[in-house]
C-alpha cells in the first residue's frame, strides 16, 4: 500500500478533541480505499479546494435512493477513491444499538467498503462512507438479509428520525420511537423510489426542547405537547428553593408571566401557559405536565437554498399521536398530494406554500384557520375573498338582524 506523506492533516491529530484524521488512519492501516482517502484529503488541505465530483446515478436494483454516487476528479492519482460512494443504512429509532448488531454492520463494511462511517449523518442514517459501484449489490444483499435496509436520498421521503423520547426522557408527550418506526415502515416506497419534487423530511420530537431540531430542518415537524395542567410537587419546590432563586430564574423568565411564587408556594395559571418547557426543564422533579398528550404539527422548515431558510409553521395546534397513527398517516398523504400537484422541480413544501398561499394548502388538507397558527394577523389589506366567503359574511349579518345580536 502506498504511504502518503500527510503533514497538514497530521496537525489535526494533536489536541484533546477526538481526531477524524486518526480515524481515517486507523481505517487506512488495512484498507486501500481509506489510505487513498487520506492522501486525497491531504491534497485538499494543501490546495484549499475539494476534488469530489457531482454524484452519479448509482444504486441497487429496484431502489432509486439510499446510495449516493461519489467520484473523484483526480481518481488517476488516487485510484482507491475514484469511486467512493456513500451507502445510507436506515438507523433504528433513537439510535439505540447492541454491540452484536454494530459488529455485524462493521464486518460487512470492512469486507466491501472503506471501513469509514459517519455515526450518524445529519438526517439520521448510519452512513457508510466510500465503496465501489460493483460492490453495491453485494452490500445490499448482506445488509438486507440481516434485517438492515437502506435509508433514503434524492427527491424522496428522507429517513425519518426522532429524539430519545420515552426511551430515556421524562418530558416526552408521545412515543417518538414508535411513531418514527411506524412512519418509516408505512412509507417505504416513498423513501426508496424518489417520485417527489424534492426532498421531504419528517422529524419527531417529544416536547418543545426539540432535540432533533425538527422545527428548523424538517418539512414536517411533529413536536410533542399537552393540554392539561402542570402538576406541582410543592415539597420538591421547597427543595429547589434551597439552591435556586425561584423568582429570578423561573417566575421572571416565564414568557407568559403565568407563574407566582411567594417564597412558600408556587402557583401556575395554566390557562395562560404556552408550554415553552423552561420551568419544567429547570425544576423537573417538581413540575410535570398532565392531561391529554399529543403533538403540534408544523410544516415547511428548510436550510437557505433556494430563497432563504424557513422555520416550520404551525398548522395543526394539537393532534393525538397514538398507534396505529392513522390520522397522521392520512394527513401526510394529503400534504404530499397537494405538494405533488403544485410544486415545480426542486421546490420544498415550504416554498410551495409561500408561492401558492397558506390558504390553498390548508384548504387542500382540510385544516381550518385558527389563531394558534400565526404570530400576528395580516398587516396589509390586500386579500382574496371567494364568493363563498362573502356569502358567509352576508349570511352571518342576516342572522344578526334576526337575533338583534352582533357576532363579529
Amino acid at each position: 500500500m502506498k504511504k502518503y506523506n500527510t503533514p497538514l492533516i497530521d496537525e489535526l491529530e494533536k489536541g484533546p478533541w477526538p481526531s477524524f484524521v486518526t480515524e481515517m488512519k486507523k481505517a487506512a492501516k488495512t484498507n486501500e480505499m481509506s489510505n487513498d482517502a487520506l492522501g486525497h484529503l491531504e491534497k485538499c488541505y494543501s490546495t484549499k479546494i475539494g476534488y469530489w465530483k457531482h454524484g452519479g446515478i448509482v444504486g441497487v436494483l429496484g431502489y432509486g435512493g439510499g446510495v449516493i454516487g461519489r467520484y473523484s476528479e483526480i481518481g488517476d492519482e488516487f485510484p482507491g477513491v475514484a469511486h467512493f460512494h456513500t451507502v445510507r443504512l436506515n438507523q433504528p429509532s433513537g439510535f439505540f444499538y447492541t454491540s452484536k448488531a454494530l459488529r455485524e454492520i462493521c464486518d460487512i463494511w470492512d469486507k466491501y467498503g472503506s471501513g469509514l462511517t459517519n455515526v450518524h449523518g445529519s438526517t439520521g442514517d448510519l452512513v457508510l462512507l466510500g465503496t465501489k459501484t460493483d460492490a453495491l449489490e453485494a452490500i445490499f444483499a448482506e445488509y438486507s438479509s440481516r434485517g438492515w435496509d437502506l435509508g433514503s436520498s434524492g427527491s424522496a421521503l428522507r429517513t425519518p428520525s426522532c429524539c430519545v423520547g420515552p426511551g430515556r426522557c421524562e418530558w416526552t408527550n408521545y412515543d417518538t420511537l414508535g411513531l418514527t418506526y411506524a412512519l418509516t415502515q408505512e412509507f417505504q416506497d416513498e423513501m426508496h423510489r424518489p417520485t417527489f419534487s424534492y426532498k421531504f423530511k419528517i422529524k419527531s420530537s417529544g416536547c418543545a426542547c426539540d432535540c432533533v431540531a425538527s422545527i428548523a430542518r424538517a418539512d414536517m415537524s411533529i413536536i410533542g405537547t399537552w393540554k392539561g395542567d402542570i402538576k406541582i410537587d410543592q415539597a420538591e419546590v421547597k427543595n429547589y428553593a434551597k439552591t435556586m432563586d425561584i423568582n429570578k430564574e423561573i417566575v421572571n423568565m416565564c414568557p407568559t408571566q403565568c407563574m407566582d411564587y411567594d417564597g412558600k408556594e408556587l402557583k401556575i395559571n395554566n390557562a395562560e401557559c404556552s408550554r415553552c418547557m423552561h420551568c419544567i426543564t429547570r425544576m423537573t422533579k417538581a413540575l410535570k405536565p398532565s392531561g391529554e398528550r399529543g403533538a403540534t404539527i408544523c410544516i415547511g422548515s428548510k436550510a437557505p437554498i433556494v430563497v432563504g431558510s424557513l422555520l416550520s409553521w404551525v398548522i395543526i395546534p394539537f393532534i393525538k399521536v397514538e398507534p396505529p397513527y392513522t390520522e397522521l398517516k392520512d394527513l401526510i398523504r394529503k400534504i404530499w398530494d397537494w405538494w405533488d400537484e403544485n410544486a415545480k422541480p426542486r421546490e420544498r413544501i415550504g416554498e410551495v406554500i409561500e408561492m401558492k398561499g397558506m390558504r390553498s394548502f390548508l384548504e387542500a388538507i382540510g385544516v381550518k384557520p385558527v389563531p394558534q397558527q400565526i404570530k400576528e394577523p395580516r398587516k396589509d389589506p390586500f386579500m382574496f375573498y371567494t364568493e363563498e366567503d362573502i356569502a358567509a359574511y352576508k349570511a352571518k349579518e342576516a342572522e344578526e338582524k334576526k337575533t338583534g345580536k352582533y357576532r363579529f
Partner: protein
Amino acid sequence: MALPQRKTDIGPPHYEQFLPPVIKKNYGKWKYHEVINNGSMVHVAESGDKLWTVRVASPRLLSTTTIREHCDIADKYCDGFFRYTTRNNVEFLVSDEKKLEPLKKDLSARGFKMGGIGKCITNVVHTQGWVHCHSACTDASGLVKSMMDELYDYFEKKTLPNKVRLAVACCVNMCGAVHCSDIAVVAVHTQVPNINHENFKNMCELPTVIGSCPTRAISPDPAKKSIKINSEKCMYCGNCFTVCPPISIKNPERDGVAIVVGGKINSLRTNPKFSKLVIPYISNEPPRWPKAVAAIKHIVEVYAANARKHERIGEWIERIGWERFFSLTGIDFTFQSIDDFTFMRDTMRTASTFKW
C-alpha cells in the same frame, strides 16, 4: 461464496430489540433526571430504577475499529447496549451504580473524552466538507476539530450561562440545523461562477439551471446554447453549480467562512430563532483555521462574561441589543450584516430607540 438472498423495503430493524432491559421496563415512565457533571447524568424512573448515562465525544467520522471499541466497552459494562446522539456523541448506559466509576475509568484510560451534558458546549453538528462532498468550500471536520480543541474545557468541565450549540456547514446548503445554532460557521463563495459553455449544452437542463438561482441572475445565452450570469445579481450561493456540473464556483483564494450567531431550536423562554450574520468573511486557513477559531472562542467568552443565567446567546443578544453585541465583542459591523435579500423589511430598525 454465494450472496444471501436480498430483501427489499423491510425498513430498519425494530428499535425494541436494541433497548436495554431497564429501558424496556421503564419505557415512557421516567420521573426525572439530574446532571451529575458535564460527562454524566442519571435518570430515575417512577419504579425507582436508575439509569446512568456517560456521554463520550466522537469525531462523527468513525472507523470500524473505533465502533468495535465502543462495542467492547458496551459489552464490558452495559450488557452490550449503547446509543448515539443526534449531535454525534456516544452514550454508555448503566443501571448498576457500581459499574459507573469503573466505566468512566476505563473510558478515560482508553483516551475517550467525556462531557457535553448540560450548560456547556457539546459535540458539533457538521457536514462532510472536503472529506466527501462535491460542493464543500471548506473542510467541516477540520474546522470542528480545531474549534473543539480550543473550546475543550467547555466540553469537559466548565459551564456557561446556558448550553452553546455549535455547528459547521461547508457550504450554504447547510446540511444539519446550522442556521439555528448559537454559533455556526458557514463556508461561502465570494465570486461569480465560471461556465464551461462547451459542456453546458450536453450536461445541463436550461430551465432547471435558471430556476436554481434565487436572485434571477441567470438568463439563456442562445448563441452559445448556454447561459449568462448577471454579476450584479449573483450572490454566489452555488445552487446553479449543484444542478449543473459545468458551472464552477470553487476558488481556493476566495472561498472562506462566515460566522453566524444567536440561533436556537427549542422554545424555552423564547421562540426558535435563526442565527444571524456577524462576521462575513474569514479566509480559509487549513489545517487549523486560527482566525475563525479565535472569533468563536471570543464570542463564547463575551457571552459567558455578560449573559444572565439560563440565557442562550440569542436571548442575551435580544436583551442587550445587536448594537451592544457588536460593541461588546468589538466585531466590525459591515454591509454584509444588513439583509438585502429576503428579510430586509423585517430586520431593519424602525424606531429611534437604540443604544450608543
